[in-house]
Symmetry: C2
Subunit: 148 residues, 2 copies
Amino acid sequence: MNTRGRHLLVEYTGCDVDVLDDLKRIEALMKEAARVAGATVVNSVFHAFAPHGVTGVVVVEESHLSIHTWPEAAYAAVDFFTCGDCVPEAAKDVLRDGLEAACVEIMMVDRGMGEPGHGIHLRSHRTELSASAEAVADPVTPTPRARA
Amino acid sequence: MNTRGRHLLVEYTGCDVDVLDDLKRIEALMKEAARVAGATVVNSVFHAFAPHGVTGVVVVEESHLSIHTWPEAAYAAVDFFTCGDCVPEAAKDVLRDGLEAACVEIMMVDRGMGEPGHGIHLRSHRTELSASAEAVADPVTPTPRARA
């Protein structure tokens, strides 16, 4: 059997804090993310912490998806680990939209590459800004008027 | 609240294939790993696949531990993601011993470092061989006899 998997470690910042603290919405988002990735859900566990924060894991036939939220920091740490033909990148975007994240940092790692001691490859590490965040980070510079 | 976490991505190869396919032993090892790491277990999910392989997740107050096994490849992909004062390195060693792994590859990543777009730091990536594997990989070279 093919052991190869793709593992996305994702950090969502500048999120909607109400969504981050809403267990039912987080659970729905994670299950939708699994569906969009093409994964088959086997089981799931979600837990709300006091005074705030949600942790959840969706076990899929193709590995797992996990989330930990810190509403007080508008932050969530999410992992999408899938094998086979799944598309974890699509799952990532479901959470970006659902959490209304301003910034998404993604480290993509290959797992189970087959050779002992060389099974993990760091494929990429990059950041995506939402359209509104990009507008703030890189405002359209007004053309300066020529002096009279 | 402090969002900082330490996440160990670990690949165990050359494992005992009977252990890798034994749900009860895998579950016991993962819960012992959580305990040794200093984490508090909230919930857990374990699932045996047909014809072989086990997936499991232990949700802890400090994040989660997950495992996916491929007995046919003598391989397991494990994640130890903990926040606070936990010691995920200790958890890693529980699985190394329990799975009787010949080779352990560890990528350590810091999560939630606080600055949007700079929350994930790759801290280290290294490989450990078991004592018996080291003996095989680096045998004592016999001193060649001088020719008569």
